[in-house]
Symmetry: C2
């Protein structure tokens, strides 16, 4: 790609940060990755695994030698880190990869114009965490949403274009939108599903006469589909819900309303209403498969056919 980021700093070396490191080296012309993480163990592990080329002993140190600073910590930490980047050398591009954007943009208002902050959100992930979980193709055929700062200077525009090109080099489709719309769309497609999955797994623990061994045994009946996303990093998700409170509560309200309608239909034995509600979801599933966001294999292909 044109104007690659030759040296990048990964701040927060988890699933996303380590995947960015792998992808940048593999397909975006990056030649050096400096890593920083609050945990010295994580820094050492990332170095040992070859995820990063150098472990920085401070944030300042990591930032000083890099063209691009990737903030891949839980969202709650970004508000604390951004003020420390105000003194970065002019033209430094800073990109976060968090799952909510409104709170991050608010925290970035205090940065000088010499620092080019580009909020980005790759809609990709797995249920695994930590520096060993990353891989170069995580972002391939996934969407990356960029929610630019409100500034129209040419220098910022150029940095924005470089970040856009970076994600395309990773194999992502890139779209730009405003942060408020992002936060609502992701509350629907990601945050609410995670909250519901966590809640369902929690509720299963709560039925005294059905023990955990039974929940495990009969999980193939549907329950196991929820446990994957409910195994995601608790700290990351805590921060998402705290930082996207308004949109999450809004879509949660819709969900609860719909659930009450279902509950009443069951109580009244209204089979027609249930069947109608159930039937409309098949079209959405088909559209997701056709858009390449899912596998059409039964059970995602996890059960091998004979």
């Amino acid at each position: 790609m044109d104007e690659p980021f030759e040296t990048i700093a990964i701040v927060g070396i988890g699933l996303i940060g380590s995947s960015v490191a792998h992808a940048a080296r593999a397909s975006a012309g990056t030649t050096k990755v400096v890593g920083y993480d609050l945990s010295a163990d994580v820094r050492a592990e990332a170095l040992r695994l070859g995820v990063i080329d150098e472990a920085a002993d401070s944030l300042e140190n990591a930032v000083a030698q890099s063209d691009l600073v990737v903030l891949s910590t839980p969202v709650g930490a970004i508000g604390k880190i951004l003020p420390q980047l105000a003194s970065a050398k002019a033209g430094t591009v800073v990109m976060d990869v968090g799952s909510c954007k409104g709170s991050v943009i608010e925290a970035a208002q205090g940065l000088p114009d010499s620092v080019h902050f580009v909020p980005a959100h790759p809609v990709a992930g797995t249920e695994h965490s930590g520096p060993a979980a990353g891989f170069a193709t995580l972002f391939r055929n996934r969407w990356c949403i960029i929610t630019p700062m409100e500034r129209s200077d040419e220098a910022y525009g150029r940095s924005l274009a470089r970040v856009d090109a970076l994600w395309r080099a990773f194999g992502s489709d890139v779209v730009q939108m405003d942060a408020k719309h992002h936060d609502l769309a992701l509350a629907v497609t990601s945050h609410l599903p995670h909250l519901i999955a966590y809640t369902l797994v929690g509720a299963a623990d709560d039925v005294e006469s059905v023990n955990e061994a039974e929940v495990v045994k009969y999980s193939a009946g549907g329950f196991r589909d929820f446990t994957r996303i409910a195994a995601s990093d608790p700290i990351m998700w805590r921060d998402v819900f705290i930082n996207n409170k308004e949109a999450v509560l809004e879509v949660l309200g819709r969900f609860s309303e719909e659930l009450a309608v279902m509950q009443r239909a069951i109580r009244w034995g209204d089979g027609e209403a249930l069947e109608k509600a159930f039937a409309r979801s098949r079209g959405l599933r088909k559209a997701i498969i056709e858009a390449g966001q899912e596998s059409a294999e039964p059970n995602f292909g996890r059960d091998k056919k004979g």
Copy 2:
């Protein structure tokens, strides 16, 4: 296996019925499969696909020539079919494969002792329906729950043992329990997850400012995990909720309570409570993987690693 069922009748030729046909031929010594379905199209398709060897033109006809009658219709139809089996030849074994057992056992109370009804529930499935969806290994490494009728005569005990052996021949682990416990355990591990998945998919349709194209695009953020089970057969699931009303409403109450607690924690910004609630679900996920009921691959292996 000893005493195989040489000729079996499949009544209702969908995912489960056709999988039983394949599995019985492949591993349980069955030499002839007679099929009956209310839909003439389904009968013809099943015959064309080789799922069944002969299409019967009536239920009576299918039952008359078979050692084992498999009722694999939606649960709501079983109550209508059972009385028609009262005149089956002495010693005919009838097995249903429905997802709730209390209502089925109640419907079977009127059968004469000469008909041996064995309620069974294989905890297996995919999101696909119809005679083309079945395959011989669907039940392998899955649990099959048998909830026997309350009768202690030796002839019935022998039929029970043959059905038990049939599922073991299919590769299933077999467990016996009473119907009431079954219905509660499955409400937790299967029925509630399906209801929640249907509800979530329905609620996503309801947020005006986020259109369906966006839901499809960003579904990899978590939403797509729910769409698989929400694509399951609407009529089958309508019948499950109508026939297991009591247990479903019970576990739904627990879920709603837990969801209200989560909602309040988000509204209050109580990060500690959220993190604690999220953290406890990882153990359950791990137990499900260790029990062989799930793949440990990230995203079930549906995203290929580079």
